[in-house]
């Protein structure tokens, strides 16, 4: 990782810059600003999970929002009853991994829009359970008074503290994800996306990788939920309906599906852009937002990072062009000898 950065000074400078912004910008922001930044971190975690499932492994999922909901409900229910935060965290990881794994099974049979709709069905079902099983979830009334935890004696009640807490989680999740996609697993996931039949014939256990992609991606969604509940301090079923899943999908695609940093950029657009637009366009901010998303996609259908890559690819192409000219003995060279 370090070596990687050293080899590219520009990337290194960029990384330091981003780190500085993430660390110090919040100090200058209002409570609301910090709340939105924390929301960005939480949504980035969820979108990163979906990026694994969709961007790397190519399995369309419209259920990511449901996993955020599962994590959030587990956290709300347990912490309101006095459990410390790590308890729902462990439960969520186990639960979302297991459910994600099961949700992967349909993907073994169907793909693309069919798979999208199977997962969409699951998301709807999860929403209905959140809403209807009042004994557990308090139904439409929701659960309020979700406590923010105390960490090493520091209360996270304060907005800035909770932001740093979310950021720390984002860094942990991103680190794990980076390691995962850079391991041979990452290559296998990509192979699964690009040509499952060929991957299978090369010994890639597509079943297991598909299920893993779902399970790990879903778990990240759950972890985001664990942070979401204490962040908002209240949950009801509505935020975990289909629009959340759609919005997470939007983050992945707009940021750049299959690019490691895509979800962070996508979440920037989906979470922070509308808030920013509010101040300039007032009531019309959603119109402006939708318009911007469309323009962005029209301009670069492969997302922001897809566009960046195309830019940086130029230099590489030029190098490759040269390499070609220098390759293999040619008729000319032969006849000259």
């Amino acid at each position: 990782m370090i070596a990687l950065l050293r080899s590219r000074p520009a990337a290194c400078a960029l990384a330091i810059g981003v780190a500085c912004i993430l660390l110090f910008l919040p100090l200058t922001l209002s409570r609301f600003g910090n709340y939105m930044l924390a929301m960005w971190a939480v949504m980035t975690i969820a979108a990163m999970g979906l990026n694994l499932t969709l961007g790397y492994a190519g399995q369309v999922s419209l259920a990511q929002g449901a996993f955020v909901g599962i994590g959030a409900y587990a956290t709300a229910i347990m912490t309101v009853n006095g459990w410390p935060l790590y308890a729902p965290l462990l439960l969520t990881v186990a639960l979302c991994f297991a459910i994600g794994w099961l949700l992967g099974y349909p993907a073994l049979r169907v793909q693309h829009h069919y798979l999208a709709f199977v997962t969409l069905s699951f998301a709807t079902l999860a929403y209905l359970v959140f809403r209807n099983e009042e004994w557990l979830t308090k139904g439409t009334y929701g659960i309020f008074g979700i406590p923010r935890p105390t960490l090493f004696g520091v209360s996270l009640k304060h907005h800035l503290n909770f932001y740093y807490f979310s950021l720390a989680w984002l860094v942990i999740c991103a680190g794990l994800m980076l390691w995962l996609v850079n391991s041979p697993w990452g290559r296998a996931f990509t192979a699964l996306r690009e040509n499952p039949a060929r991957a299978q014939s090369l010994g890639v256990d597509t079943r297991r990788y598909t299920l893993m992609a779902f399970a790990i991606g879903s778990t990240m969604g759950g972890v985001a939920g664990v942070l979401y509940a204490p962040l908002v301090e209240f949950i009801d079923p509505n935020p975990f309906g289909l629009p959340l899943s759609f919005s997470l999908l939007l983050m992945v695609i707009v940021g750049g599906s299959g690019y490691f940093l895509g979800p962070a950029l996508g979440a920037l657009i989906a979470v922070l852009l509308p808030e920013w637009l509010r101040d300039y366009t007032q009531g019309y901010y959603l119109i402006a937002y939708a318009l911007l998303v469309m323009v962005l996609l029209i301009y670069s259908p492969s997302g922001i990072l897809g566009w960046v890559e195309r830019r940086t690819a130029d230099a590489r192409t030029r190098r490759a062009s040269l390499a070609r000219q220098a390759a293999v003995p040619t008729y000319d060279a032969g006849s000259a000898s």
């Binding site: 069905s121 209905l128 939708a290 029209i298």
Partner: protein, 291 residues
């Protein structure tokens, strides 16, 4: 017993609405391999064209013509030119997301620029009821069923029996080769979207008297129609009507005999079952040989 037949007939009637919209989905897929998540809003919007026209004093028939014309221009040509063209080469997902954004755009625009209220809408077919099998069914619904069946027959004939139709399919299945054979790819795609626009505007005129003209009325409709299209078979137009009917009836029976709280889950279970056991839908055909 009369309850039961009420449910069935009522379900068929609702199903026909889903079917009319689902045909558009299937058509777009078959003829351009695109998925339009704003299809529900495409049905919502023309009603407002009509309301505006009528608000300016146009009689119904004129408003209807204006509506179709506006739809062809805005939902057909402009949609294709501005959103579909740049994205069609980049696979289904960016396009799907862009149409989701378009859905938000259309909803919010209508809401902010026209009104957030629901409006009654005049009906093409008189608002009268007919007793069938001991159940009351409105003439409006019969109109919709007839339209759905008519649209399916017409479009199926177009796609399967005419050279234009096959050129449209060819364009969708392999645009590069289509271009190379001299098929006017651009025109075929445009044609697809224009047909879809006509279809949604007619659907809008038929459905809005029942659904009411409201900025948000496309949401559930779009989703239901999409599910109907998948259940029926995405790559077969007639699948849309089968899927629509099935969805409508099942929805009603589920609400009546299972749980009202979980009613919206039942069609989804059917969807899952159909997808898992007949992945290409009830009427659909397998897409192609893979190895």
């Amino acid at each position: 017993m009369s309850t039961f037949s009420t449910l069935i007939v009522g379900g068929l009637a609702t199903g026909a609405i889903y079917a009319v919209v689902a045909i558009g989905f299937a058509l777009l897929w078959q003829a351009s391999q695109t998925i339009n998540f704003a299809q529900g809003e495409f049905v919502m919007l023309p009603a407002f064209f009509a309301l505006i026209a009528m608000g300016m004093g146009a009689p119904y028939w004129l408003a209807a013509l204006v509506t179709i014309g506006m739809s062809v221009v805005i939902l057909g040509a402009m949609f294709k030119q501005m959103l579909v063209d740049p994205m069609i080469k980049h696979g289904v997902l960016p396009m799907a997301i862009a149409t989701m954004a378009l859905a938000i755009f259309m909803k919010e625009s209508v809401k902010d620029l026209y009104s957030a209220e629901a409006y009654p809408f005049p009906s093409l077919v008189p608002d009268r009821n007919l007793a069938i099998l001991g159940a009351n069914i409105s003439l409006q619904h019969i109109g919709i069923i007839v339209t759905a069946i008519g649209a399916i027959i017409g479009l199926t004939l177009l796609l399967e029996r005419t050279s234009i139709g096959r050129q449209m399919q060819a364009t969708a299945q392999n645009p590069t080769v289509a271009r190379l054979l001299g098929i006017p790819v651009e025109r075929m795609i445009l044609l697809t979207f224009v047909i879809n626009a006509v279809l949604v505007s007619i659907a809008s005129l038929l459905v809005t008297p029942i659904y009411l003209a409201k900025f948000s009325s496309g949401e559930t409709l779009g989703l239901a129609a999409f599910i109907a299209a998948i259940i029926g078979g995405f790559n077969q137009l007639r699948g849309a009507i089968i899927g629509g009917f099935l969805l409508g009836v099942v929805d009603n029976l589920a609400a009546a005999y299972i749980s009202t709280q979980y009613r919206s889950a039942v069609p989804l279970f059917i969807l899952i079952a159909v997808i898992l056991f007949r992945p290409h839908g009830i009427a659909g055909r397998k897409e192609e040989r893979t190895v």
